[in-house]
Symmetry: C2
Subunit: 416 residues, 2 copies
Amino acid sequence: MNFTIDAGRLWDSLTVTARIGATGRGGLCRLALGEADREVRDWLRQAVEAIGCTVTVDEVGNMFALYPGRRPDLAPIAIGSHLDTQPTGGRFDGILGVLGGLEMLRTLHDRGHVTEAPLVLVDWANEEGARFAPAMLGSGVHAGVFDVAYAHGRTDADGVTFGAALERIGCRGLAGAGAFRLGALFELHIEQGPILEAEGQVIGIVTGVQGARWYDVRLTGASAHTGATPMAMRRNALLGAACLIEAVEAIAQDHAPGALAAVGRIECRPNSRNVVPGVVDLTVDLRHPDDRVLERMETALMTVIADAAASAGLDHGVDRIWDSPSVRFDPDCIAAVRAGAADAGFAGREIVSGAGHDAVYVARVAPTAMIFVPCRGGISHNEAESATPEHCAAGAQVLLNAVLRYDTRSHGGSPP
Amino acid sequence: MNFTIDAGRLWDSLTVTARIGATGRGGLCRLALGEADREVRDWLRQAVEAIGCTVTVDEVGNMFALYPGRRPDLAPIAIGSHLDTQPTGGRFDGILGVLGGLEMLRTLHDRGHVTEAPLVLVDWANEEGARFAPAMLGSGVHAGVFDVAYAHGRTDADGVTFGAALERIGCRGLAGAGAFRLGALFELHIEQGPILEAEGQVIGIVTGVQGARWYDVRLTGASAHTGATPMAMRRNALLGAACLIEAVEAIAQDHAPGALAAVGRIECRPNSRNVVPGVVDLTVDLRHPDDRVLERMETALMTVIADAAASAGLDHGVDRIWDSPSVRFDPDCIAAVRAGAADAGFAGREIVSGAGHDAVYVARVAPTAMIFVPCRGGISHNEAESATPEHCAAGAQVLLNAVLRYDTRSHGGSPP
């Protein structure tokens, strides 16, 4: 492969834009459609226009920078991710995917290379969902998961609607959402988990996103004076909860490899040091790349909830509040990533994404794959989020290689 | 036994005074040294003065109503408890001990009976500790556990000191705290637990108060994305906590009978449904009537904390924040209660108090015992706290009988 991205220029982009919405602790607060988001979008617009891109913003704020190809009749191959962050977010989550895509376009521009299909760099609006719930709103509208009116009506904590916020920063575009049909999407992202780092791998070849189901569980016993209530007369809700927490762990072990599970949240009432707990509310998060296994995990969960409740003499209730089916990325896109990694000298490691991404929704309407690079300690959604210049550059290089491979294979373009 | 208390009059006293500080839900909010406390103290003063008592208030607000005996040289036999309540407290906790004592004095007064020793009805100040921590402050100063300046300096949530609150309601007396030496104390109280009700018993002959030790435990792992962190790479603080909660239950089972234990309070961080918990703080409450067994329970606790932490790869810390040794009441006082119960036709059931009471501190400076009557469902510190007129009357009758037995045996008075 002859085209090598400019690692220093990529790092400069990451560093310069990290001043926009910078927090005091090395992180970013660049909430969707806020002033910092407007400013970084303006920065991006200038950067892409400087290399001959045409920018289109759709009616929900997704920003598309079209880099012309040889054949305007082909649907463009998309690259990108998002530039918005959590309130105390990091400098790489989403941002690497956009700025890595920019670096890739700059490299092609420098070399005067024209792909068969047009390319399009996308900044999806409101991926984080931190200001306007739900997350992945822009890509969700693009993929037809949400309708435009629903998106425009979302409100932030101050009662400002998504639609009004779009207008306020001048990003309520004229293009119909979803009208911009994509030929494929390649999203570069930090892993947000510890696997690549632990295994000394640089490139994750993301084959899909695991399914996830979330549950709210209530265990109800009877609060009682710890000093005055014999053990045999208690209905200790926290004791049932303890049994359930361990059983949830066992469900993950029983469905290894690939299964993940945990109780993340627990609220105990009255939560007083000398009172036997009467009510415990807790949440369960079950994940697996195979929805059939996830279904079996759910069946096991229902059994262990009933058993845990019975063991402590409790009543129980359970609600499944979220069901996100697994996603398998497109085999051709995955193959392009694998080949692109090899071209750059990386073996790569197949990995299933634990977190949701814009690619999850886009995969419903276009062939899609993702590329992961390591982040320190697996830490993300945190100002301490960190990735090395070398790993960022490797990710952008594999992104470039994968897109060229895909363009060549799909459209018969000549390899550079 | 010839003297029978007036069950209807006792119930009237309970009903009339329950209007002072009544909540909307059948309970009481009569915080120590508040306006309602002043009002009920005034009511009590009028009631006791009407039967010839002399009221003395000491410098920390303990109220002593002296009912003369044949021999003013003898230290008076005390009866009583407290009239203050929790913010959403019940109508019986403490109150039955004071008004049962009043009913007993009224009965003696009606019959013209004079005991050898004087009698004194006591309303201990600030038993609940709800407005001014710690609990049992008035009886604690009386017994020399706390000094007067410490008590006067306690502040409520509004910054009002205990001393200022005493003055505001005119209850900062001139008598030195503890100067009022007691010959004995008999405290009638609702059980605040479910044992008597469950066994169909009416009278609990309280032989002592169990020892209690309280601990703060912190388990520290690492918070991580539930969807992106393999099971084997987790340090799940809540999983360690679950193991510990079950082990604390086992400690109580292993030291049966008489052992009680529970984790009452748990705080999990970050407490988010898709994050593996990184830190859990929890509290442990261990109780046993025998301090030597309690010591062994503590040794077991330290082992299971270390084991639970190790099992989940956690760091741990533990602080013992409270150590309340067990109390054994005076054998002669207990014998008087047992005989008094038999005189009233009740077998009685020996019981160890789970909760603390003014009698715990007074037992340090005078022979002491307690009488328990059932409360519905063992519920207390709650507006739903409830006791039947029959059980209240039975308790007051046994109180009267026990005091007369004690007076006769100790001072050679003639039985009525």
